[in-house]
Amino acid sequence: MPPVIMTVEDLDFYYGKKQVLFKVNIPIRERQITALIGPSGCGKSTFLRTLNRMNDVIEDTHYAGQILLEGEDILSSDIDVVALRQRVGMVFQRPTPFPMSIFDNVAFGPRINGLARGSALTELVERSLQRAALFDEVKDLLHQSAQALSGGQQQRLCIARVLAVEPEIVLMDEPCSALDPISTARIEELMIELKQEYTIVIVTHNMQQAARVSDETGFFLSGELIEFDSSKQMFTDPHDKRTEDYITGRFG
């Protein structure tokens, strides 16, 4: 079992007075894919967003508990959130290319953070596009608008964009739900390749997807983590009855 890179300890999360996450404890292991499943509204996306403090942009939210990334508690107030988000990147449900060329999209993060310049930047952009399995399709179009790409290509562009800032962990919030099955399959392949270098945490509505790609899976229900196990175990012989009901489709 790979070492744990991020530990979530006793995490509670509140929108105003309403508590939506209850004492969640999860180990995220290095260089593998951890999937989070559960019915709509169970808090899995909210949970994912606490891992890179994206919930901070919403007003009136607060946490209890801690999340340790290599020993440091990322929920504490003296953490530089901007630096955190460089180490823990995120891909969203809908592809969101910036209104610039493909090259500028991928170069955006590194340019702003001064990670690379000139020819080093060009190499970084190429490498990121290759890692996102997009380079071959766009290598002659780098200076065209990113808007012209198809949905699946745009999502891979968003992945390349995140990879360009060289994160350790990549969070994916239902990355394939807006895509057709073929693009979905390509991105699933991509995830399996990426896990050789990056730690991936994916929220998905699609249980078959979780079963296909992930190494460990967590099942959320109404803000609680009901079960967390190796995916093989979870999808063949879950321990909790609620997990079994969800997986066999009795609800959700």
């Binding site: 942009v57 990147g89 995120m90 969101t96 910036f98 702003i112 953070n113």
Partner: protein, 290 residues
């Protein structure tokens, strides 16, 4: 017994049809009548203004009384300079406050600021002229292009602010969040991504604000004042198209009347070009990129 679906006959139905038709005809008629003043203005402008429209108009200074010919070159240049000065004041303030309102203005403070901007937008332009007279012209002890530019700039601010706010608001949250999640600061997210996505709409707002101030006369009466000669210095009075048109129109000379019409034609054409350019900038959809 089921009711038939066939169109009913009888006088009740005929009365409804008649009322429907009258309303239609009335609406179309009202529209045509509303267009009449506009069409008449355009016709007069072309008919009276075109004869004196020649190259000399754009290159020569006004001739002294009695001499025929001359042009409004200094007034045209003056209007352009005043617009430039107004933009220097109005654009940064208007765009920045528009961005502030859309990103951080969803609260009572924002509501108050919006209200004040709307009030400023409805202040009569002559009042703005008098205000700038008091704070700029009196201390400087003369009329000036600077004062004129400040007056027009003040008029630009609320328009630019409101259109910028509305267009920036349309940029989807998902774009902002994508940028933030790359480890980019709020500041860079707003300026390098959100504003970029909104640029077509912001430019439109600016062009429309310029079109509005280009024809303003009242605020220039006691600020820029007007000038019969070439002038570009900030601390000297400067000519402007609307002022020159006014001067010529109230004079007793036919030649000057003709030139006033030409000046009006040029002014309206300038505003028309700006408005068309604004439409061109947002052709197709409203150009907010997803």
């Amino acid at each position: 017994m089921t009711r038939s679906l066939k169109t009913p006959k009888g006088w009740l139905h005929a009365r409804r049809k008649m009322a429907n038709r009258l309303l239609w005809v009335g609406a179309i008629l009202a529209t045509l009548i509303a267009l009449v003043p506009l069409l008449m203005i355009l016709t007069y402008l072309v008919v009276h203004g075109l004869p004196s429209l020649n190259l000399a108009f754009f290159t020569h200074l006004p001739k002294p009384v009695g001499e025929v010919g001359g042009g409004m070159a200094n007034a045209i240049a003056g209007t352009l300079e005043l617009i430039g000065l107004a933009c220097l004041l109005g654009l940064p303030l208007g765009i920045m406050s528009g961005i502030f309102l859309s990103e951080f203005g969803n609260n009572r403070t924002g509501g108050i600021i919006r209200f004040l901007a709307d009030v400023l937008a409805s202040v009569p332009s002559i009042v703005i002229g008098i205000f700038v007279y008091t704070i700029v012209v009196l201390p400087m002890k003369h009329f000036s292009a600077l004062a004129g530019g400040i007056a027009l700039g003040i008029m630009m601010i609320p328009t630019v602010m409101r259109t910028t706010e509305e267009i920036v608001r349309l940029v989807p949250q998902s774009l902002r969040q994508s940028s933030l999640s790359l480890g980019v600061t709020q500041f860079r997210t707003t300026f390098s991504v959100v504003l970029l996505a909104a640029r077509a709409g912001v430019i439109t707002g600016v062009l429309l604000a310029i079109a509005r101030i280009a024809g303003e006369t009242a605020p220039l009466l006691f600020t820029a004042f007007g000038n019969r000669f070439w002038s570009y210095q900030l601390n000297q009075p400067i000519a402007s198209l609307p002022k020159q048109i006014y001067n010529y129109a109230i004079a007793p000379y036919d030649d000057w009347h003709a030139q006033a019409w030409t000046g009006a034609l040029v002014l309206v054409s300038l505003i028309l070009i700006l408005s068309v350019a604004a439409r061109y900038a947002t052709r197709g959809r409203y150009r907010i990129v997803r």
